[in-house]
């Protein structure tokens, strides 16, 4: 009998998140050459169209899943810890997986440890790379928000599944193969009795793009000086199809929401391009963005520590520089198109 690797297919604003495909790709990597079923667990609102369901399943199959378990509930529109746990637990008892993979997202971070304890399982969190070595599966993960790196492995004699949460934007996608298909299985969901009620969700973020998944981040610090000062950064981000982030300096000053904070006590991000505007480069901030592929710094102080980690530095007033960048990128992208 082949073993099963289960992934949690997270949906955000009616779209499958990129990390859902990365989770399937991680499963492919874990499977290696051993015969394995790769199954995904999809929780959708009852009114989800057949079209949308097919689209989700298709993407998961294309990246390596052979099976998609679908559970429906009216309240799967927003995350609810108990409801989601009940659903995933039901899939786990059906699929009996050896590994379970979640995104290290708001949902995965909340759900995975609870499931892990329920199953008496070990969990390795926030994994950025997976490799096989001498028959061991090694999971790479950052410590101190990236100031150090460890490799961890599952050990012991427990028969419980092994649980992994993967950091978005780090596990390479497996080569898509559109000839692949699989089986969609609807599981009748028996919701558990609930002790908490989600009475409201206040959406402060727009679109489907989360900071941790953005390929390009334009980030503002105290140098941005006001909420309004973020406007030019938002324009640049929108031209680049990126997301806006911030330093704690900007969050503490009330220019933006803490949800945007990048650093040791905020989000750790690893985009292709990170543009730091009016950010000095404190060690806690650097911990959260030093893993970016290319760092660009805009700061009027040539001595700012951010320049020590930046690939490209522009010394100048961000209110002058950022609009110039917006124009230049817009022209470049129009020219390319």
């Amino acid at each position: 009998m082949s073993r099963t690797i289960l992934t949690f297919a997270e949906i955000r604003n009616h779209e499958l998140r990129q990390v859902a495909l990365e989770a399937v790709s991680a499963a492919v990597k874990i499977a290696g050459t051993a015969p394995s079923e790769i199954a995904s667990c999809l929780l959708v609102p009852v009114d989800t169209s057949l079209d949308a369901l097919e689209r989700y399943a298709e993407s998961l199959f294309t990246h390596g899943a052979n099976r998609v378990y679908v559970l429906k509930h009216a309240d799967f529109t927003a995350y609810h810890a108990e409801l989601y746990l009940g659903a995933v637990q039901q899939v786990v008892s059906t699929a009996n997986p050896e590994f379970i993979i979640f995104g290290h997202t708001s949902v995965g971070r909340d759900l995975a440890p609870r499931l892990a304890s329920m199953l008496q399982a070990g969990q390795i969190s926030d994994v950025t790379a997976i490799q096989h070595e001498d028959g061991n599966l090694l999971c790479t993960r950052p410590l101190y928000a990236g100031k150090a790196v460890e490799q961890r492995a599952f050990t012991g004699t427990s028969a419980a599944p092994s649980i992994i949460t993967i950091r978005p934007n780090n596990i390479p996608l497996s080569a898509p193969d559109s000839s692949r298909s699989g089986e969609v299985i609807e599981v009748a969901f028996a919701p558990p009795s609930l002790r908490t009620i989600v009475r409201d969700v206040v959406r402060k973020t727009s679109g489907t793009l989360d900071l941790s998944e953005a390929k390009i981040i334009v980030s503002g610090g105290r140098g941005v000086k006001s909420t309004n000062g973020f406007k030019p950064l938002e324009e640049l981000a929108s031209v680049l199809n990126g997301a806006v982030g911030a330093s704690r300096g900007a969050c503490d000053a009330g220019y933006c929401d803490y949800g945007l904070q990048i650093g040791q006590t905020g989000k750790v991000v690893t985009p292709e391009i990170y543009i730091a505007c009016g950010i000095s480069g404190a060690i806690q901030h650097l911990a959260g963005m030093s893993g970016s592929r290319v760092i660009i710094a805009v700061n009027k102080d040539p001595e700012a520590p951010i320049f020590k980690v930046a690939d490209y530095g522009i010394v100048g007033d961000l209110f002058e520089v950022v609009p110039l960048l917006t124009t230049a990128f817009r022209e470049f992208l129009e020219h390319e198109a």
Partner: protein, 257 residues
Amino acid sequence: MNIWVLLKQTFDTEEKIVLTGGGISEAGVKWIINPYDEYAVEEAIRLVEQHGGKVNLLSVGPERAGEALRTALAMGADEAVLIHDSRIPQDEWAIAKVLSAFLADQGADLILGGNFSVDNGAGQVAIRIAEQLGLPHIGSITKLDISAAGEAIVHRDAEGDTEIIDAHLPALFTAQQGLNEPRYPTLPGIMKAKKKPFRLLSLDDIPGISLQELEARTTRVSLSLPPSRQAGVILQGDLAAQAADLIRRLRQDAKVI
């Protein structure tokens, strides 16, 4: 209200990481209360100021973790328990198992922990404890109101969005930045803390726990420092020319656009 706060001692976030002999050097390191746990301590103190009751602190760790507990006592917590035992593996399953075995008969109305630790950062321990104790949990909270009857209205941060959730105590919540502004210990607070009850326990003091159960599920295989980044170039010329130069370099050198 009988509140228990889960608290871990961590490196100050200013610290650079140095490796020695396969581990992380602790020489000369300044230690702090994990910043998220500090929010939890502050929230617990405020709740007791409002409703009456007791703030209890609980930590598993080495003896130096006692300093973090003393600091939290100086902030205004009432009692502290440190479980120190080298037989406890460094694995979230095991740590959570020890903490929940101890908490099982403490009659907590509310357990508060941090969103994650700023060192190891797994974000597992507190939520695992909720499951082991059969309590509902809400993770990453930014606002907490509790009525005298124990009805809680909780704001939870979900990647920038806010979820507003109703729960009933007993429950476990984890603190996110923005929940409050922790107070500093005052001098009289520090003096008083020295006389507050502080218990140092080992596994032998916790009934109903077997070493067998604590078997680590995961273990560290290697430890390293990330490749260090080098300073790149400072662009020159007038700002418009620098913008154009940047795009050229991103395309030709870095190949990211």
